[in-house]
Amino acid sequence: MLVSAIVAVAEPSSGVEGGEEHLPVMGATPSGGPLACAEILGQPVVERMIQRLQRSTVVKNISLVTPDGIPAPAKSALRRRITRLGGSRLVLEPMSRWVLSDALKQQAQGGTDKLLLIRLGAYVEFDLDDLLQFHIESGGPVTRVHDHEGPLDMWMIDVGSACSSAGFGRLAIGDLGSGIPYLSKGYVNRLKDARDLRRLVVDAFLGRCAIAPGGRERKPGVWIEESARVHRSARIVAPAYIGGATKVQASALITRFSSVEHHCEVGAGTAVKGSTILPYTRLGKSLCVARSLVDGNRLTHLGRNISVEVADPNLLRRTAPAEPAQTKVPLFAAWRMRASEAISGSLNFSEGEL
């Protein structure tokens, strides 16, 4: 039996939900790219999915359909990464030229019996062998993967049945409907918004999903890629991840559940707390970035449910090829200053007084 897979990266939705009108469009990074293409602890979700399929012995051919609306730099970066995964089994197609009916016809002509269709979307950990077995035993033309919250955009399709069904010429992903529901018990994160992306990072750090941070675990809970440069006076508090070619300057602080992806710069004295900094982002000096997702000069603050574009390039900007010189700042100078500002000499609590 020949099983193939098509992974289509969904365009971010233009709609907003849940009253979070200030947040960016659903499924998008602050700069508008699909969350499934955003680097998370060194690797985008789409790449993790492709690798998962490549590792399986069941799937013989994989097609990746890339969205058209993705920003150009993100698109070329994704293309480079996916191409590097290599393998004759992987084919890239642009969304603008992709039609499900045609794809099914091609699969049928290529001898595919079963097609796994995935619209990303969500980060889903599933048992492919179990799904295939369920699909075969159920005998239906389409099986749709569900989790305890409802249907997911993953279908196992019997190609022969689909091709012979009525109305095949107009078939789109939406027409597949629910099919026979298959309940997946694996980890699922729907990646609907920035909050979901942050939750995925936290869950990965806590081992709640199979995502392992990239790089080497330099000390327990601190993963740093080989090409990252961390000033010796900078402090990294576990769990945290520093991506490749990223520079963390003097007295900076990257703390608890933060990830700074590749080609970023964290300015001297800047603190990153419980935040994710997406690739090619430069944070200026002496900033405090907390509970946020930052992408270039766009920041989504999860505590305040707001997304802003920062015009001042001294604060936030997309990194340029030229590298600014490192500024020498005495060890913990910024923190000493804050501590002395916050605590006057007379402030003195004891449990008995409170």
Partner: protein, 121 residues
């Protein structure tokens, strides 16, 4: 890369004002200055912490980092937690509910220690 020695646990005094903090710093400085020192400050006895105490913690952290070591905090009472949060110093340190978790964290990241903290994103 670990030093190969066991982490050193130091019990902090009940009062961490200027005089006590200074005395404590001189006591622990040789440990902090050793190469790749692994040190846990046990706060379980601390009842009083002021700015001088916070300053002392920063000095200890600076010393231990010079030798590529690490300093972690454990068993911090609520009042001291407030002081550390108020000064923004809390995020500089790995903080654990108990000393055993803090000691263990030098060998592997204790994810379970964070499971019940209600981490928000």
């Amino acid at each position: 890369m670990r030093s190969g020695t066991s982490p050193v646990v130091k019990l902090l005094p009940a009062t961490l004002n200027r005089a006590q903090a200074e005395a404590f710093f001189h006591e622990v400085a040789p440990i902090l200055r050793s190469e790749r020192a692994e040190v846990v400050f046990d706060f379980s006895e601390v009842r009083q912490l002021d700015g001088a105490g916070v300053e002392m913690l920063l000095r200890c952290m600076a010393e231990v980092m010079k030798g590529n070591g690490d300093l972690k905090l454990s068993a911090i009472p609520p009042v001291s937690t407030i002081i550390l949060e108020l000064t923004g110093v809390d995020c500089l340190f790995e903080i654990f509910e108990n000393t055993a978790d803090a000691v263990q964290s030098f060998t592997h990241f204790p994810a379970q220690a964070f499971q019940q903290t209600g981490m928000s994103w």
